[in-house]
Symmetry: C2
Subunit: 306 residues, 2 copies
Amino acid sequence: MNFKEELAARTAQVETVIKKYLPEEKGYQKTVVEAMNYSILAGGKRLRPMLMQETFRLFGGSGEVVEPFMAALEMVHTYSLVHDDLPCMDNDEYRRGKKTTHVVYGEGMAVLAGDGLLNYAFETAVKAFGTADGMQAPDRVARALGVFAGKAGIYGMIGGQTADIEAEDREMKGCPVTEDGLLFIHEHKTAALIQSAMMTGAILAGADGEAVRQMEKCAYNIGIAFQIQDDILDVTGSLEVLGKAVGSDAKNHKTTYVTLKGMEQAKRDVERLSGEAVSILASFSLRSLRNEFLEELVLQLVGREK
Amino acid sequence: MNFKEELAARTAQVETVIKKYLPEEKGYQKTVVEAMNYSILAGGKRLRPMLMQETFRLFGGSGEVVEPFMAALEMVHTYSLVHDDLPCMDNDEYRRGKKTTHVVYGEGMAVLAGDGLLNYAFETAVKAFGTADGMQAPDRVARALGVFAGKAGIYGMIGGQTADIEAEDREMKGCPVTEDGLLFIHEHKTAALIQSAMMTGAILAGADGEAVRQMEKCAYNIGIAFQIQDDILDVTGSLEVLGKAVGSDAKNHKTTYVTLKGMEQAKRDVERLSGEAVSILASFSLRSLRNEFLEELVLQLVGREK
């Protein structure tokens, strides 16, 4: 199989895991469950659970203890989209070509569906204690839960969303975001859930503290490189390749990594950050099985044309 | 000390525990943390963490393992109020005489503050693994986490909120809620977090499965009795005693326990449910220390004049 086929096959495996942990649509709470499942099944590349599973494999993990966490991470990612799309946030009517949750189910139900997904993420992750391998290593599951919770919250994703909203408000008042501020947003809004994926994958496989810190660094690089690449493509990309409008940042006079550092520096930084990320992964191949699929996945992610 | 003094003293203790676990208002995420702390410090009787602590004591629990869960439960309760007050939900501008979170911080930030509180509840509860007594009994903390998560979600509080919203929609279309539907709402919207309090308190103290099930039943009775009493007071209470408008249910043609079962039956059911709840608590006094404060607290709760 080439990479593309392998990616499709592994995405399908991840989909199966996610579906296995979705709640049943029945009872008096049926509507909120429908709205939750509608949101999570509306598509997506499932990159976060895939990165978690592949990091778990890199460190020699096996068994199903990682599965509840994979599903839980996709639930966290999905709830953040549902709430982000609300009229009082980004007010988006479509996502991935489908109507957003509040358009289909109403705003109140979308708030509850987001809350339901976030809460169900923890209900699901806690199930890892009950898996056969979770029973043997409750300490790993407990540590993974701590990282998983932390990277989703105010010191992770929610912190990034907060800083992003405030930076936009200030930009409208003519006060552009600083490089430090922009990196904070990218680190927390984007990299944090990738860190959650790779760190929990490593912890659940039994990686030591130093290895987990290396995964945190690796995932930071991936997240930041991904976001810089996003800024680059908004300038150099084409509508056909991206499937979305380009030049929107310039039109909105938005401060991006490209406006702050220049196009050439931005491209060099993507190269450097992604190169370091792959080096970190390769360094662990000496001690464990090499995961070439994971290395290729990272390169595709940050070097992506779309 | 009489009960009132004892209640004030214990409420102050619970306040201290909650404050100990609140996040610091600093960094790029400062605003969302301010909004979270504003919401949780806006007052409240702290009944849920108090019931947790007292049940923990009833079963001979000691040490600080219960503390993160106490703070976490108040965070869950508070996030539900923040999201409930949003314009797309109940659209309330005031709560306990203070402006609601979205009025002070804007709707977008209120959504994030609610999300932040829910997520931080789990970040906080997970800290119980790291307390001295949590280290000794990780299995108890893991089981408590499972119950804590479940009672807050779609099979607990969020399920009740969903059913409540839908029942209101149907009532407006002339289709009144059934007794079964009303009990589902009360059980999930109100009793679930009381169950969370008493069950996690018991689990963390080392109570066995049967005792935990008895606490679930006891808390169910307390929650339902409390809600029926609420319906009764809306008919018989006075503005001066309640501090809020009475007769609002009748004015809204709302189906309540009183309209379904009649006033006399409703009063008898409050008696029966609260009597059973106290009997359950007293039955455990034979095996452990009697917690007379907890028994009195339950009676005050359901027999309350306001």
